[in-house]
Assembly symmetry: C2
Homo-oligomer: 243 residues x 2
DNA sequence: CTCTTATGACAACGTGATTGACGTTAAAAG
DNA sequence: CTTTTAACGTCAATCACGTTGTCATAAGAG
């Protein structure tokens, strides 16, 4: 039963940066988990770099690609570290006010903003469980808000689950839309001003009558509006539970 | 302004299957867009095939991989066709009852079920705009439900956008979780029974008190519950608009 | 100063998407 | 029925990718 959290203690990940031999690469840089994660995020933010690549990451670090495997067991291990860093960036300036609705809105907005601002990173991160410090802090904060709002421990867990997956789901598709290759992304966005705006009203009457609004809104994120709808639903649940 | 829906008319996609020269491959099969899409979905459903690969798809079709480029301009073109097929599968048995809440719940549930049942396909499809028949039918249906519920054309478009991205967002992350390689997926799922269940209650009091519920619920989809929360929010909006 | 070993570099393997050239053959033109 | 045309399947080649095994070397321990 407790074999779940078995991690290979001899694996690179678990060695601390402090005790490392600080050998330099051919180009003089000194590698570390932190530097690799930061470089990966920076690399994924530059235009033209569509996806994370060990080879390009090595190049950006001035090191041989295979050197990364001294710091992360696999690319998946690296991805989890990157994902947790993204959570950390999102949580950097959360302030808990005690107003559950404002607090959830703030956390959701911060998460969504950070993820869509780093779409290529978000695509890798949005659906992962990092089991790392920043994620744990986020769960603790989220549960706390819901507990203080009046939910019991069980309902707090349930509504936290709904809220966080709701938010990360939007982050995932909005980030994926931003992360598409130039051509495909442009075509997807233009669809609502082009294809859907000119569908015949006899076959598609509902689309035709809503076409202007669709053209205006479908290429922007629905998250802010959907979040208010969701929060209204949470409010309804709180009202039902008494209090 | 109307240059948006320019599509290259000489491209393979736009030629109809009817007028095609029906030449056989080396192994005797006769290719078509439809066969390729079906084979791709079948291939992605088989265990061990992590991602779509033109080479494996060619192998499964008994054809040279490069033959696919006679039917789809690029893999992205193929992906859009696959995505639209997935929408078609989801809409196959929708029945409109006139009860907006039941109808939205039905469509959302069907979409989410189909997408998570084909996780590898869903990962490619969830964030795309296919501009193809099945998607158009889905938009028309969705808008119709909201119009009949009492929303005007503008609000119908806005709430459709929120609803569909809400649903596809959940589909995206739930599918991504199912689509992870065996090792990574197992680790992610086990996190809530392992890592999070044994966090110290002094540092993480909220997690500790909710740990049993987290362990029970976090490895299943939050969509059904979140959907009710969302629908409650839509109800609140309808109440606010009068009627 | 010596010894150990962590770690960076290198080379190689298998797999991926994509493209251009080529030849065959089905369909269209007469 | 014959001729023509071009659609389409195949082949070969190119370049990028993740990952592993081997080797040397420099950093730290003694």
């Amino acid at each position: 039963m407790s074999t779940f959290d078995d991690r290979d203690d001899t694996a690179p990940t678990d060695r601390l940066a402090a005790g490392r031999r600080r050998r330099t690469t051919r180009t003089g840089t000194v590698l570390s988990q932190e530097l690799i994660v930061q470089t990966a995020i920076r690399l994924l933010g530059q235009p033209g770099n569509d996806a994370l690549s060990v080879r390009r990451l090595g190049l950006a670090l001035g090191a041989d690609p295979s050197a990364l495997y001294r710091y992360f067991r696999s690319t998946d291990d690296l991805v989890l570290a990157v994902a947790d860093e993204l959570i950390g960036m999102s949580l950097k300036d959360v302030r808990i006010t005690g107003d559950w609705r404002a607090d959830l809105r703030g956390i959701g907005t911060d998460l969504h903003r950070t993820y869509t601002a780093h779409p290529h990173v978000a695509v890798l991160a949005a659906s992962r469980v990092t089991r790392r410090p920043n994620e744990m802090r986020g769960v603790e904060i989220g549960l706390g808000i819901l507990r203080d709002a009046g939910f019991g421990p069980q309902d707090a867990a349930r509504y936290y689950h709904r809220f966080i997956d709701f938010t990360l789901g939007f982050a995932a598709i909005d980030a994926a839309a931003h992360a598409l290759p130039t051509e495909a992304g442009a075509a997807d966005r233009a669809a609502w001003q082009g294809t859907y705006a000119s569908l015949p009203s006899d076959r598609y009457p509902r689309i035709a009558e809503s076409a202007p609004t669709l053209a205006r809104t479908m290429s922007t994120s629905a998250y802010p509006g959907a979040l208010e709808v969701f929060l209204d639903g949470v409010q309804a649940a709180l009202d039902r539970h008494g209090r």
